[in-house]
Each structure stands twice: as structure tokens, then as C-alpha cells.
């Protein structure tokens, strides 16, 4: 961390210096911002990650439509530099919003009205400077827990994740600064659903199977993605994803594996090409006789299947195209919890054990 300290503020300063140069030349200053949208996101077949394309937008100060955004960009950059990086402090997205929120003197215009605005500017600054949000010392709400055979060091404290009871280790928003002390696990099982995590933790699945369990309680945050990536890269652990058998599960899996559209610029730090999908699949529905547990698809589901199956990173994946086809054919989706009809611990004692042993994965 200390090593980078001098580099990060200087990149923000570079942005300011560049603008200043333009001003000194008497030019209408502009900032070049790569566009972050589906239209400018490319799936790189080689690296198997989503990457930002080459499209760029220019933001001018003396332009009625751009002026406010331009000012936001520069002011938030100066806030990040002066308030966070120079003092080596961290702040939440929400906190940055409040630091930036003020009324511009002599007007009734607020610099930012909504956190969405400052969040977007911070993402812009990531793309402009090439630094990650974490490197800019901005964190998000932490969501997610980890249990299992891993001991790590967090802010000087040593934490053994096999001795943390029902709750597990609460994964911080920024996981770059953690270090792994001792890892005895054979693999990492990531599930989005906290309910399943609790089931597996109660059954001591991680102890019996020598693994690490991670859940996110919602969207897979950057902190968790970075943590999983580091476990895969640094500890060479296979990462398995456990989701519902539906298009949303497929998308969650693809975000962990290939990256997301909104964070395509951070792909390098977040994507885990080696990750595998353990279940549940539409084939499991047949194999484990879960037909009665099928939930009918509605129009939204169908539309989403159509959309996701056309994404570049799914388009040529035969296994997944087959899953989408089966969803449509059976006109249904199945939740992980459906396995409970076979017995409350069926998932931990039989299903997962079999699937992992037989390497029944989707790529």
C-alpha cells in the first residue's frame, strides 16, 4: 500500500495538469472519458474477459451541456486527492457524495444532487486515471461473508475463518489489502444466496469437504470479486459458483467469470476466467427429479433469456446455450432451495459432494 501512495495522487494531479495546460493555451479545456456502456464493451475471446472499447467522449467546460459534469469531475478528483489519498484515509461512496454535495455560491445549483451522480464521476475517474476505486480509497458498503479453512490478516488482525461461528468473516469493501496466512482448502464455493450459505455452514460443509464458503447477500460486489480472484490467482484454488437454475444465475456466474458491463474498465482486477459453474443446472432438474419444483417463466424471464443468450460471452458457449434452450423448453426455472424437498441436508451431504467429485461443471 505504502508503495503505491505516491503514484495515485500523481495520476489525479496529471489530470489537473493536463486541464491546466489547455487553459494556459487559452483553449476551452476538455477531458477525454472512455465511454462505459454496452456499445463500448468488447468480449475478448483470448483473455475471456469483458474489456472497454476505444470509444471516447470529450467533456468540455465551456459547453452548456457539459459544464456541470466537467466541474464535478475536477472537484471530485481534488476531493479524492486532498481528502483521501494525501491523508491516507478511506471513505465510502456515500461519504464522497456528502463531501461533494454543496450549493455553488450565487446559484441554486448543487454540485451533486444525488449519489448516483458522484458514483458515476468516480467510475469516470477510474477510467480516466486507470486506477481502481479501491486504489482511489473509495469503498462501498460491505456485503458478504466467508467461512472455511483460511486464515488471513486484516488491518493487523489475524483471523481464522474456521472459528467464526454462524456469521463468518464479514468481507470488507476493499479486499486488496488483505493477506492470506494459511490456506488449507481444496476449493472455494461461492453462492449469492445467504440462505444456502447458512445451510452449508450449519452442516459444517467446509470442514467435511475442506473448502471455503463465500456469499455476497446480493450482487457480487467488487470486494468479493477481487477476493475470489486473489484466492484463485494467489492460492491457485478452483472457484465454483452455486446459483439458481435460471437466467439471472447464469448472469451472476458470467459477471464473476468474465466481468460486467459497468465495470469493464476494471476487468483485469476482477474477472476470474478459471471459475466453474457447479449448479444447479436444468440437467439436475431431470437427474434429481425436481420437475415439480419448477417455477413458470414469465415474460420478463423470457426477454432476459433472449438478451443474455445473445451476449458475446454466451453466444458461442454450447453448454450454456443448451441450458437456455432447456429453460425455454421446460418453460421454467428452479431455485437451489428446491433441493430441500429431498431432505434438508441433501445439498450438503449428497448433491454438492457428488457434483464436485464427478466434476460435473459448466464452463
Amino acid at each position: 500500500m505504502k508503495r503505491k501512495k505516491s503514484k495515485q495522487p500523481s495520476k489525479l494531479k496529471d489530470l489537473g495538469d493536463n486541464i491546466l495546460q489547455q487553459i494556459n493555451k487559452g483553449k476551452n479545456p476538455n477531458i477525454v472519458v472512455p465511454i462505459r456502456a454496452l456499445s463500448n464493451v468488447v468480449y475478448n475471446e483470448k483473455t475471456k474477459t469483458l474489456e472497454l472499447g476505444k470509444k471516447k467522449a470529450e467533456r468540455y467546460f465551456f459547453n452548456v451541456a457539459h459544464a456541470k459534469k466537467f466541474l464535478q469531475t475536477v472537484e471530485i478528483a481534488s476531493i479524492l486527492k486532498k481528502e483521501l489519498l494525501d491523508t491516507d484515509k478511506h471513505e465510502h461512496l456515500r461519504g464522497v457524495f456528502y463531501i461533494a454535495k454543496r450549493t455553488i455560491p450565487g446559484t441554486d445549483v448543487n454540485l451533486v444532487d444525488d449519489q448516483v451522480e458522484s458514483d458515476k464521476i468516480i467510475e469516470d475517474l477510474e477510467v480516466i486515471t486507470g486506477l481502481s476505486r479501491e486504489e482511489l480509497h473509495v469503498s462501498a458498503n460491505k456485503m458478504g461473508s466467508m467461512v472455511g479453512k483460511v486464515t488471513l490478516k486484516d488491518s493487523g488482525d489475524t483471523i481464522n475463518c474456521s472459528k467464526l461461528g454462524k456469521g463468518g468473516y464479514s468481507i470488507p469493501s476493499i479486499t486488496d489489502e488483505l493477506s492470506f496466512k494459511k490456506v488449507n482448502a481444496k476449493y472455494v464455493l461461492y453462492m449469492e444466496k445467504a440462505a444456502i450459505f447458512e445451510r452449508l455452514n450449519e452442516d459444517k460443509f467446509w470442514l467435511k469437504n475442506n473448502c471455503i464458503l463465500v456469499t455476497s447477500q446480493g450482487q457480487t460486489t467488487r470486494g468479493i470479486r477481487r477476493l475470489l480472484q486473489r484466492l484463485a490467482d494467489e492460492e491457485k484454488l478452483p472457484i465454483y459458483v452455486l446459483c439458481d437454475a435460471d437466467v439471472y444465475g447464469a448472469y451472476i456466474y458470467s459477471v464473476v467469470k468474465y466481468g460486467s458491463i459497468a465495470l469493464a474498465h476494471a476487468a483485469e482486477r476482477l474477472t476470474i476466467p478459471s471459475v466453474k459453474y457447479v449448479g444447479i443446472t436444468m440437467d439436475d432438474v431431470v437427474k434429481y427429479d425436481l420437475k415439480k419444483q419448477i417455477i413458470k417463466l414469465d415474460d420478463k424471464d423470457l426477454a432476459r433469456i433472449k438478451q443474455v443468450s445473445q451476449y458475446d460471452w454466451f453466444k458461442n458457449n454450447k453448454d450454456w446455450q443448451r441450458q437456455f434452450k432447456l429453460m425455454k423448453e421446460l418453460n421454467g426455472k428452479v431455485e437451489i432451495q428446491a433441493l430441500a424437498t429431498k431432505g434438508i441436508s441433501f445439498i450438503s451431504e449428497k448433491y454438492l459432494v457428488e457434483k464436485i467429485k464427478n466434476k460435473e461443471f459448466l464452463d
Binding site: 489525479l12 494531479k13 489530470l15 489537473g16 495538469d17 486541464i19 491546466l20 487553459i23 494556459n24 487559452g26 483553449k27 476551452n28 479545456p29 465511454i35 462505459r36 456502456a37 454496452l38 456499445s39 467522449a57 470529450e58 468540455y60 467546460f61 465551456f62 459547453n63 452548456v64 451541456a65 457539459h66 459544464a67 456541470k68 466537467f70 466541474l71 475536477v74 472537484e75 478528483a77 481534488s78 486527492k81 486532498k82 455553488i104 455560491p105 450565487g106 446559484t107 445549483v109 454540485l111 458515476k120 449469492e192 444466496k193 445467504a194 440462505a195 447477500q217 446480493g218 450482487q219 439458481d244 439471472y248 448472469y251 451472476i252 459497468a262 420478463k300 432476459r304 438478451q307 431455485e335
Partner: protein, 557 residues
Amino acid sequence: MATIADELAKKQREISISEFFLKNRHLLGFDNPTRALMMVVKEAVDNSLDACTEMKVLPEIKVELQQINENRFIVMVEDNGPGIVKQQIPNIFGKLLYGSKFHSMRQSRGQQGIGISAAVLYSQLTTGKSTKIYSKVSPKKPAHYFELQIDTKKNDPNILKDQEFDWDKDHGTKIEIEIEGKYLRGKQSVDEYVKETAIVNPHATFVYINPEKEKLVYERVTEELPIETREIKPHPYGIELGHLIKMLQDTRANILAGFLQSDFSRIGPQTAKEICSKAGLRIEDKPKKLEEKEIEALFKSLQETKIMAPPGDCLSPIKAELLEKGLRKEINADFYVTSTRPPAVYRGMPFQIEIGISFGGDTERESQIRLMRFANRVPLLYQQGACAITEAVTETNWKPYGLQQSGNNLPTGPAIILIHIASVWVPFTNEAKEAIAHYDEIIKEIKLALQECGRKLSIYIHKHIRAAEQREKISLFEKYVPELANALSNLTNNKKELIQDRLQKILKKELPSLAAENGAREGNESVQDINEKKENKKIKNEKKEKQTTLEVKRLRG
């Protein structure tokens, strides 16, 4: 033995109209001291203006309120009208339901002949004082001074004093009434009444002295007298059966065809023949000899036969041009629009709608618009909610015209909407004459006029606001420059003042193009602008997508 009916008969007697109103003074608008003060002024001023119109003189009207003690006032109204002949003075001021206007189908301020005598009655009731009247009809004749009260049982004037005196004016009337009242300023005050009257009577000069002895002068802005109104015969569509029976009895015509042609408007020989044949009557039948059933047939036939609308030239609108002058002189605004609709008809009665709208200036910006209602040039200050005019305004959608409006309320914005209805018979909801009855034809005409003015208003507002917004955006740059300079100085450790100076220079250079651009840049940059917008849209869509995913997940998780 006396029956109960006999007993009752002892108690049954005629109720004099004066007695009736003594007990029901609220029906005439004298229900509280504030309003009573306004009503007395209003009745006197209405009479003065009507009298001046008859004489075709430019009205010079003086209104003075003298406060005697906390709740007692003397109202003095003086005009330069024709005066009133001596014999008639007691009857006009001292008898209710006596007047020249009730029986004529003609546009005038007063209608029933109640107004001024009700004021006299109210004065008598609250102070016990007599009303003083000064009148002069010609320079050659002496002026008369009266003091009178009303004998409420007989509905007759009681003259206490009657003498000649010297008055140094050619002709005119002055009335002095002492009443119990309360003087307040505001929307329903005498002040407002005089001001609004001045707006719709741009040919009149008013001098108003309020109880605080402030003298306000409302000068006339035109020498043009209002168009003289013609008295018209009733239109067949507007009469009722009882009225028809009375007309048949009173007519001077000997045959039915003659009666129809001479006593109604818009009936010629052809139409008369048609009406008679439809009713199964002959044109030479004697009007006075018709039987009940025949009259009913005639009435029905009158309603069913197609008859031309009554003539509109019996009406005397203010006229759009003069209405605008009136508005301009009393209301300081940025924009004025006025309109006069062609005459229309409700229940056989011709009427005409006029509208004026002012926008901006001194008018309050954040509250509801100010609605000014007038009937035959008389301001209507009370019962706004019960009035058809209000309904027409609230039912109009003002948003397209640039005013804000929530639900069916009056719109909001710095506007004053003035609406005038001129008619030979204004359909008031009651004798206080403050609210117009809800006839569809009237509401429709008002709406049409509002739309016409609304369109012009919207052109002004949109142009005006657009220009103002543009100016505002550009002025924002002046505010942004120090902010950017400050942020850059923090970011780069350079002097703020230097950066600010340079930015200001660039701003000066860019200003003309900024002003011309209207938000978008030219050439490549404008393409980028559009792109950025498109991108923003896409990002939004992506977000939505993500959100639905999340929501679904949460629902299931």
C-alpha cells in the same frame, strides 16, 4: 265558533318586501360589516355609472369613506350624471323593487331595483340615521336635498326633509349613507372594488378617499363612451309560460301574428305563420282570447320552431382594446392579452364574454393566479367558488399555456385573469349578485375565450422562459469559473487567482458561441454531445437491467 282557519287568518297578513329583506339581509349581501360597507359603495357606484351612461357623459365619480368611530362609516358617492327628478327621488331610494331596469331587456349594471334602497334600509337598521340625497338635473333648475327613511311595513319612503339648495355643479347626484361597517384592505375590500371598477370602465374617472384620508385617483384612459345599448324584445327561447300569458294579456296587438312579430325579437311574418300553424292556431286569432290549452300549444311551438338567435347589438362589451388599456393602467405586468368573443345566447338571452390576461410584473409568482370576475362591468368580489366563471377557468388545462396547475384548481403563476360577461340579463345565483349561474353555453364561451388568450400567453411564456433559461445557463458559467479554478488549484497546487483569470478570458472568447448554441456545440463536438446523451440513455437501461436482476434476486433470496 271560530275555526282554526279563522284563528290563523288573524295572524296571516301581507309581508312587505322591506320587512322581508330586513330579516333576510344576507340575501342582498349585507351579511357582515366588511361586506356591507363594500355593498353600499357598490350599489351607489353602479347607479352612478348607469346614470352617466344614460346621459352619455364621461363619468366623474367620487367615492369617500368617512370613519366616525370604530364600526361606523359615512359612505359618500357623487357623480356627474343626469340627476333624478324631484318626484322620483323618494321612490328610487326609498322603495325596494322600484326601478327602470327590471322590465327592460337591456344591458345595465343594476337589474332588480333592490340595490340602493337596500343600502338605505341597511343604514336605517344599523344606525337609525336617515339617508341624505343631493340631486340636480339641470343648471337651470335648483338642486334638491332630501333626508329619507323607509317605512318598512308599507315599503314606502318616509321623507323627513325636502328642500332646495344651491349646488355649484351643472347636474349630478350625491348620496350620503351612514352605516355600521368595517374597513379592511384586501381582495374583498372597497379599495379592490374601486380599482377593479376602474379597470373595466376605462372611460370613467374615479376619485377615492379611503377612511385613512388617502386620496386615490383613477384617471380615465379613453374618451370613448361605451356603445349605447339597445333595449330588445324578449326572445321566444328565453320566456316561460307565465311570462307568455302575461304578455298575451298586455299586448297592444290585435292578432296573434302581430303579437308575435311586435312583442318578440327575431320573429318575422314567415316565422309567425309557422309558429301559429305548429300550435294549431290561426294568425288572426285574438291574443287576449286564447284559452289555456291554446297558450300551452303556442308556448310549445315557440320553443320548437327554429328562430334566429337574438341580436347581439343590444350588448355593450368593453372591447378588447379598451380592456387592455384598463388593465395596463392599473396592473403593472410584462405581458397583456385581451379578447372579446362574438355574442352568444343562453336561454334566449344574448351575452358576450371578454377576457384579459396579464402576466409577470408585480404579480406574485408562487401563488394561484388572481381571478377577476365582472358582470356588466361590475366587479364580483364574493362567492368565487360558486361562480360559473371559476368553473370555466379551473376546467381549462393551463399546463400547455405555460401555467402550473394541480388537479382542478386555479392555475399557479404570476398571472391575472380577468373575465367579463355582458348580458341583457346576467344569471346570478342569488340577489347578492356575486356568482354567475352555471349555464353550459356561458361556460363554453368562457373556455373558448380562455383558450384563445391562453395560446397567446403560451407563446409569450415559452419564448420568454426559454430566453431567460438560456441567459441563466450562461450566467452560470460566471459562477462556475471560480469553482473550477479552486478545484484545479487544489488538484495541481497552482494559484487559484491565475487560473481564474485565464478561465475568465476564455469565457469572454467563448461567450458569443455559448449564447448562440442553445446547449449543443457545433461540428464534431455536437456529435459527441448527442452521443453522450445516447450513452447516458444506455447506461440508464443497463442500470435498469441490473436493478431488475437485483430485485428478482432479492425477492427470491
